[in-house]
Symmetry: C2
Subunit: 206 residues, 2 copies
DNA sequence: ACCGGCATCCCCTATTTCGGGGATATTTTA
DNA sequence: TAAAATATCCCCGAAATAGGGGATGCCGGT
């Protein structure tokens, strides 16, 4: 049984590295590679690999969304996330979007092979770092409502309650309530802490 | 003339990729690789390559500092920074610390070879993205005084002027002045903007 | 010896945020 | 369909920040 593996990554060095690592494995057949979401889509319309090794950052999109798309359209294709970062948000999103595994780019050949073997069997493979991150009941992900997200973003942009109220066509009292709820949810006691924690938890992009 | 190239990167895939890309170039001789600052140091004590391809993030340190160290100890060795990120701070610091070039990991084989050829001649090689970042007279780096940095950090931690005054054994009026100066320097009109901009400009680490 | 930058302190007032409440209507969801 | 979540609005008062202004001493470098 040989597994057909497709690579999606915009770093030539990584593609070359993977080809070199996997190239002479009998059980692996390299189906090719793509350096963007678009070319990956194009490829999949013509043929399906067993496994896709997918970087999370692509020039024309991101691996998280692409992963969900692939899983929805081609349920037989397993996806392994690949990235330099061990940021929880990436790993979480990738897994939530149907990935079967996650590897950091410092993975060894053995880890790679093990991951591929595992996922084609329907198992989940997480690298050491990734599984640690998934395990640690990481900061019970704050859940913000749509409105709260909006207000949070505007706060970070420097708007006052008054300005936000005008912008969103509501009373300042409403904004004030949202603001208080944000402070509570993020366990912040003032705006400074609120913004810092929001950045930390990737609720706003800096 | 063949150039001896040494690789410092903690990502096996990247190392493999580089070996694969450069391995069969006649003008390149791969001197070896290291996956940490420590092993790099050890290697250099025994032999010197012409060029080091150096990742900016290493498990036991970072490429920026290592770069400076290498240039100080072995001026004949040229360093090319290597990373996934095109963050200005990295590129800047790398170049300030004596690097001769900077490549992103999506560089092609041609770029790699060109970079190596250039730097051994004493020239500077920057990838397209890197040079753009160096060029754009990037946000005229805000310069904060020692005290301002302290206060900024404490603001981001959520301390009020009063609390900071106590912590630093000065009057709240003093803190207030620093705070105003921070707002002016960072062109922020309130705390929220101040914190966000401070994070953006890496004046505080999140 | 002088100048500039820095840190320190003070005054004033207006605006904004924080910390408690409580209330009601509309969605969502279980 | 009933319960929960969300979004909306309001009150109060205390605390903190913002925006002006000005002033003094210290230290390092030319």
């Amino acid at each position: 049984m040989t597994y057909r593996v497709f690579i999606v990554d915009d770093h030539h060095m990584v593609i070359e590295g993977l080809r070199s690592l996997l190239g002479d494995e009998k059980e692996i057949e390299l189906a090719g590679h793509a350096t963007s979401v678009a070319t990956c889509r194009a490829f999949l319309q013509r043929q399906l690999p067993d496994v896709i090794l997918m970087d999370i950052s692509l020039p024309d999109g991101n691996g998280m969304d692409l992963c969900r798309e692939v899983r929805a359209l081609y349920p037989s294709v397993f996806v392994i996330g690949l990235s330099t970062f061990s940021q929880q948000s990436f790993i979480h999103k990738m897994m939530e979007h149907g990935a079967s595994g996650y590897l950091l780019k410092n993975a060894t050949k053995e880890e790679l092979l093990e991951a591929i073997r595992d996922v084609v069997k329907g198992k989940i493979y997480l690298s050491e770092e990734a599984s640690q991150i998934m395990k640690k009941d990481n900061p019970p992900a704050v859940v913000l409502t749509r409105r709260e997200q909006e207000v949070l973003a505007l706060i970070a942009e420097g708007l006052t309650n008054n300005e936000m109220a005008q912008r969103l066509f509501v009373s300042t009292a409403t904004i004030d309530t949202h603001r208080k709820n944000l402070l509570t949810k993020l366990d912040a006691k003032n705006t400074a802490t609120l913004v810092r924690k929001a950045v930390q938890q990737e609720l706003i992009q800096v």
